[in-house]
Symmetry: C2
Subunit: 290 residues, 2 copies
C-alpha cells in the first residue's frame, strides 16, 4: 500500500509524540519537526507508509539520543496485558469456538498501537477496549480459511506487531496446533515488539522468537535479513498482525492472513472499509504453497 | 501567542483539506504538501500561528489556482445560519438577560471554523451544536465587564471571524446600543469572512463593514492597512471573535474582549483551559482608553 497525503501530518504527529515520551523540550520538538520535514521532502512519495515511518522514527531516535523511546510504555503495556492473561485464557477455554475466540483476542490486542493518538488511555483501561472489540462483528472474516490453512501446514510464520499485543498473540499461538515462529523487529521502532518484549510476554515458552532484521514498523522485505527472507519465502502460512504489516505486505504474493483492527482512516480508505473494523483477511495475493 | 509544535501537523492537515474542497487530485495534494513543508521550513518559529496560516493558505490558493477555496462552503454556512436567524432573534427577545444570551450566541457561532476537522458535519446539523454551546457554562465570563465597556463607549470595533458565524455576530450587534464597525478580512483565507460574506449575512444593514486589509486568518497588525490600524488604535472597545484573533492579539495592549470557543488543544494549553470551553475574556493587556 502506498503512502497517502494524510500520512504526512500523521508522521509529524508521531514524531512529536515520540519526542514527548522522552521529555523533549518545546525547542527540541520544533527542531525535530524541522528535521522530519527535511526528511519527508527527501523521500520518495511512492513508498509504503512504514518505509517513511522507519526513516522518521530513526530521525526521532537520532535527535532525542534515545534508542528506544517507547521502552517504558512497551513494558507497561505488556504488564497490563499480562494482568488480563488468565482471564483471556479462561475466555478461550469457555468459548463455543475457541479458535475464533483466540483470533478475535489477537485482533483486540492490536489496539495497543502508539502510532495512533491517545493510546495511553487505551492501555490504562485495556479491558473495556478489549471487550468492545470482542462484541464487534468481523468486517472481513476469513477465520475458517485460516483454520484450514493451519490444519494443512507444518508450521506458521507469525509476524508480530506491538508490545502488549504480544500477550494476546500468545493466546492465539496456544490455540494453534502447529509450531510457530514468532517474528519481531530487529530494533526498536515506535512500540513494535523486539525480542525482549516478546520474552516479557512469555512468547518464548510456546514459540521460537526470531527477528525480521529490520527496524521498519511493518515488514519491509527489502530491509529484512536473508534469514528472515528465507523463512518468509518457504512459509506455507503466514499470520501478519496489525496495520504496518498490512501496509508493507498487501501487494506481496504470499500465503498471508492479515489480522488487524483498522485504526487509521487511510488504511480504511485503502481497504474500502470503515475505521474501527476488525479484520481477519486472506491476502488478495494469497496462494497455496505446496 | 506563538506557534506550538502541534501547529505544524495541523497546518498540513488544513492545507490538505483546503485542496480537497477544490477537488485536487492525490498527486496535486502531495505536491502541495511538499510546497507547504518547504514553506514551513523557511518560516520563523517565533511567529504566531495565523502568520504561518497566512503563508500556508496563500500557498494553497497559489497551488490550486483557486482564489477562494472555501467560497461555496462559506455561502452554505451563511445560508444554514440565516435559516436559524429568526429562532436566534426570538431566543434573545425571550431571554432574561438578552445581552448575555446574544454574547453566548456569538460564541456558539464560532463553531463554524473550517480550520478545524469535521466542520462540514457541524454546519450540516448546526442547531444541535448551537444548543450544546448554549447549555454550557462560561469558562471565562467577563460579559458584565464587556457590557460596562460598551455602555461607556461611543462605538465598538468588532473583529469578525468566519462566514456563517457572521449571522450570530449580527444577533449580538443588534443588541449593542452603540454603532459597530465590523472588520472582515481583506481577502479570502480559509472560511474567514470577507466583505461579501458579511453582506450575505446582512451585517451591512446594522453595521459599517470595513476591511482589515490583510488575508491572515487573524488580526496580524503588521499586515493590516493603515486605515484599519487607525481605527484599531483609537477604539475604546474591541470585540475580537475566534481563535485566530486571540492568537494574534493576546499579547497586544488594547481594550479587547475575546469571544471564542476553544476548539484547538494548543490554544487550550496557552489559555490553561480545556478544549470545548466557551470564553468571553477581557484581554490581560486591557486598558481603558480615555
Amino acid at each position: 500500500m502506498r503512502t497517502y497525503p494524510d500520512c504526512y501530518p500523521c508522521f509529524m504527529r508521531q514524531a512529536l509524540e515520540a519526542s514527548r515520551t522522552v521529555g523533549a523540550t518545546q525547542e527540541e520538538q520544533l527542531h525535530l519537526l524541522r528535521k522530519v520535514m527535511q526528511q519527508l521532502l527527501r523521500l520518495d512519495t511512492d513508498c509504503t507508509p512504514p518505509e517513511i515511518g522507519q526513516a522518521v522514527h530513526r530521525m526521532v531516535r537520532a535527535q532525542t539520543g534515545v534508542d528506544d523511546p517507547y521502552f517504558q510504555l512497551k513494558a507497561y503495556s505488556t504488564e497490563r496485558a499480562l494482568a488480563l492473561y488468565p482471564r483471556l485464557q479462561r475466555m478461550v477455554r469457555e468459548a463455543k469456538d475457541p479458535f475464533t475466540c483466540a483470533v478475535r483476542l489477537a485482533i483486540a490486542g492490536n489496539i495497543i498501537d502508539f502510532a495512533q493518538a491517545n493510546t495511553t488511555d487505551k492501555v490504562n483501561s485495556l479491558w473495556p477496549y478489549v471487550e468492545e472489540t470482542l462484541r464487534q462483528p468481523f468486517t472481513v472474516d476469513h477465520t475458517q480459511a485460516l483454520s484450514e490453512a493451519l490444519s494443512t501446514s507444518r508450521e506458521v510464520l507469525f509476524l508480530a506487531d506491538n508490545a502488549g499485543e504480544t500477550v494476546f498473540d500468545r493466546i492465539l499461538i496456544e490455540n494453534i496446533e502447529i509450531p510457530t515462529r514468532y517474528v519481531v523487529k530487529g530494533g526498536p521502532t515506535i512500540n513494535d515488539a523486539v525480542a525482549d518484549d516478546a520474552r516479557q510476554a512469555g512468547i518464548h515458552r510456546i514459540a521460537e522468537v526470531v527477528s525480521s532484521g529490520s527496524d521498519a514498523p511493518g515488514t519491509l522485505l527489502k530491509d529484512c535479513s536473508p534469514e528472515f527472507l528465507h523463512e518468509f519465502r518457504k512459509a506455507s502460512v503466514i499470520i501478519a498482525k496489525g496495520q504496518g504489516n498490512y501496509e508493507t505486505l498487501s501487494d506481496i504474493r504470499a500465503p498471508i492472513f492479515f489480522l488487524l483492527k483498522i485504526k487509521c482512516p487511510v488504511i480504511a480508505k485503502d481497504m474500502r472499509l470503515g475505521t474501527g473494523s476488525i479484520i481477519c483477511k486472506r491476502s488478495e495475493h494469497y496462494f497455496t504453497r505446496p
